[in-house]
Symmetry: C2
Subunit: 152 residues, 2 copies
DNA sequence: TTGATTTTGTTCAAGGCTGAACAATATAGT
DNA sequence: ACTATATTGTTCAGCCTTGAACAAAATCAA
């Protein structure tokens, strides 16, 4: 059976850690009145100020309709600004307000803490190897998507 | 900034791969008229036939209310059976129908394919190391949850 | 210049997920 | 035997995510 196969089990281990990290993040962000998707937006906009909604959706690997639902809430809370582009009237460019930046820094501390707690189980070399493997896997998957007719 | 820190970036790489795998899985399961959560249920019930809804929720790391929403749909499709326990009248035990088992085997092939495609970027030793790291990290996180007052 | 195509963001409906509240049932303690 | 507490599964409201459809705007091709 698949779950007897090493590769399968190794991936299940990865998936389980991912769930644990998301739960830890959710718990850590709750005092800041932030949900994970909101934080994801804030962190990306902090880091790439001025990006468009489509660019943000690409980075977060979500649909742009999702952002059309989430962004107005962050805007209403005074954390994000959406400004029409000077050249392309379809486009809105995103940036954080001063309050948004402050909140993002606090939330980043939460994320760093969760990640540090997690990685405490690994040596520096192991952690680095993990990152190497995952980056390589990510590139491989983007370069070699499974075709739709090859599954079943 | 956090994204300049190796550990942070290494985790981001893991998170990104997780998203890519979920998207590949979703695409691969679509022809079977299955969503990821449904497949997750089927695979777990296939493997641990007779488990309770609470046990399934624990394994899947989701709330039992979620399963109360999802299971009736799988039952309605004739894939899952929910049988009252012989001793504890609160409990329902889950098993797959013959059709449910067949569909699960087909879906497992999809998952194996996605995982094989993914792991093709790694040597066998690297893949094994990845699993070791993640299992260790998982145990560490379960043993050392962040306290609620330590984040902010 | 014009028409076709693509891109961007919004709206919509559907569905998955959470956590609280609840009822029924089991277990624990006195 | 009785009361208190815990457990199991369901319902509910709220919210995140998807994909389709749409309008406005930009780009492309002839």
């Amino acid at each position: 059976m698949p779950w007897d196969m090493p590769r399968f089990r190794n991936w299940i281990a990865v998936a389980k850690v991912h769930v644990l990290v998301e739960k830890a993040m959710a718990a850590g962000l709750a005092p800041l009145q932030l949900k994970l998707p909101h934080y994801d937006i804030l962190a990306n906009v902090y880091r790439f100020s001025g990006l468009t909604q489509q660019e943000l959706a690409d980075r977060m690997l979500v649909g742009r309709s999702n952002l059309s639902m989430l962004l107005p809430e962050l805007e209403r809370r005074g954390l994000v600004k959406r400004v029409p582009d000077s050249e392309d009237r379809r486009v809105r460019r995103l940036s954080l307000t001063a309050e948004g930046r402050m909140l993002t820094l606090r939330a980043l501390k939460v994320q760093v803490q969760v990640i540090e707690n997690m990685m405490a189980a690994l040596s520096a070399a192991e952690c680095e190897a993990l990152g190497d493997y995952m980056r390589r896997v990510g590139h491989h998957m983007l370069a070699n998507p499974l075709s739709a007719d090859s599954a079943v």
